[in-house]
């Protein structure tokens, strides 16, 4: 399709680089922005500029932040002795939304997967070991995904942390709350059985 304007054409090109945006959707978005008010359109442009100019990676935990160290790493109300290791910044959001954790995070930014060219040097493993070496940490919770790369990463990290006097734990894997035993596949069931716990009695 030939555009009458070169700027529209280049906007469509840029938009279609976004994940999940095809040529058609990119055109729709471009025309929406063309018709939008100047304030709305510039608001988007400035927001994009701000995340590129101001958002950095926290040197402690590896999460996205504008201040280094980030708000979570510097929050005096959070425990400094427990550290929860996750693959992605999105995972921090999910755990924070659960409200069930008040410690520190360590964002790996990936999981060991040579098929996607991700090895130990790509996952901030060294930074984790450095944090643990400083001695404040007493527990490391490995909350990588329950899939093969996530599991392999958990084994790799627990191996690395063996020499330190920290307890290394792995989040439980198994049947999701609201899930059905009947519809769980055998791998999920096997893990759920493996991760069974004594029933607490009064």
């Amino acid at each position: 399709m030939q555009f009458s304007s070169r700027s529209v054409e280049s906007l469509v090109d840029e938009l279609s680089k976004l994940p999940g945006v095809g040529k058609k959707s990119a055109q729709r978005l471009a025309f929406f922005l063309l018709k939008a008010s100047r304030d709305d359109a510039m608001g988007l442009a400035n927001a994009i500029r701000a995340i590129k100019d101001d958002v950095i990676s926290c040197s402690e935990c590896g999460n996205f932040t504008e201040d280094d160290p980030c708000m979570i790493c510097t929050d005096p109300k959070r425990s400094r002795v427990v550290i929860c290791v996750v693959e992605q910044p999105m995972d921090v959001l999910a755990i924070e939304a659960s409200g069930g954790f008040r410690g520190q995070y360590h964002v790996l930014r990936g999981a060991l997967n040579p098929l996607d060219k991700i090895g130990p040097d790509q996952i901030r493993a060294r930074e984790l070991v450095e944090r643990v070496r400083r001695g404040e940490i007493s527990e490391v919770i490995l909350a990588t995904n329950p899939n093969p790369p996530g599991e392999a990463t958990a084994y790799f990290l627990s191996d690395l942390l063996q020499e330190f006097s920290v307890s290394v734990t792995r989040i439980a894997r198994g049947i999701p709350v609201g899930g059905d035993l009947e519809y769980s596949d055998q791998a999920t069931l096997a893990r759920a059985l493996e991760g069974r716990k004594p029933v607490e009695t009064q």
Binding site: P114, L115, P120, R126, P148, E151, A152, Y155, D185, A190
Partner: protein
């Protein structure tokens, strides 16, 4: 649009948009197939562990030859091979198998011996003694290239066809062993010791389970692997040495920790 059913091994997965996944599956009936699995992630995930690498699954999908991505309809797990991720050595070798298949397969392969070999290799890598994983992976490679028409000659001279007596040479470019009489006529030869040749012959002839006790020294393994890598590189267009074996460390945990202390890059 035809509906297809096939068992398959999942070789690659990629999260796509908020709730979908793109998969590369090695199907028994149609070779390599790329699939989109819509709405399988998110608050109500579908198909559980069936859409993870190493999984042996039954797939149902809509196939249209004009499309690059076929639409997944059903997936049920036959075996997750969970053990492959529970030890880094098993993991790196199993990833190396998937990586080799992704490089080797070009698409619509007709059903053949390679699929059952691949499946059997994953099963075996999950349970075999860790020390034998290197031999098993090399055996998988030798058998796999043989099934695809690049069987190395290891039992007679590629030039005169006579049986071999010491000294024996290996000509990667010509695909096999060369006898002492012919070595001057064949280019690119290198020596191969009797024990290296015997090892490669065993890997080719034995079943995978018979190799559990075959644990050569790491030096012997590296040398023999080196010879076979030369063969692979000259026989296969798109061959690259395994990234999985290179990138994921196999050093004992202590070695790794020492590497960290010394500031070495990990996994090199």
């Amino acid at each position: 649009m035809a509906i297809e059913k096939s068992e398959a091994i999942i070789l690659r997965t990629l999260n796509f948009r908020d709730t979908s996944k793109i998969l590369t599956a090695y199907t028994l009936d149609h070779g390599l197939v790329s699939l989109i699995a819509k709405g399988v992630r998110g608050p109500k995930p579908r198909f559980g562990s069936a859409l993870e690498i190493f999984a042996h699954v039954d797939l149902v999908y809509y196939n249209k030859d004009s499309r690059d991505l076929q639409l997944l309809s059903q997936a049920s797990l036959l075996e997750a091979h969970l053990g492959l991720a529970s030890n880094l050595d098993r993991y790196r070798h199993a990833c190396a198998v998937l990586e080799f298949l992704l490089k080797l397969l070009s698409g619509q392969e007709p059903p053949g011996k390679l699929y059952p070999l691949a499946l059997r290799t994953l099963e075996v890598l999950e349970k075999a003694p860790v020390a034998s994983l290197g031999s098993l992976f090399l055996a998988f490679q030798i058998k796999a290239v043989s099934f695809l028409g690049h069987r190395p000659e290891l039992f007679s001279c590629i030039s005169c066809r006579e049986s071999l007596t010491e000294p024996v040479y290996f000509a990667p470019l010509h695909g096999g062993t060369v006898c002492d009489n012919c070595v001057v006529e064949v280019d690119g030869t290198r020596t191969i010791t009797q024990s290296q040749l015997g090892f490669l012959q065993r890997l080719m002839k034995s079943t995978l389970a018979e190799l559990f006790e075959d644990v050569p020294s790491s030096e012997f393994m590296a040398d023999t692997r080196g010879i076979f890598e030369l063969f692979l590189a000259s026989q296969l267009d798109r061959y690259e040495p395994s990234r999985s074996l290179r990138q994921i460390p196999n050093r004992h945990a202590l070695g790794l920790r020492e590497a960290l202390k010394a500031g070495d890059p990990l996994g090199n």
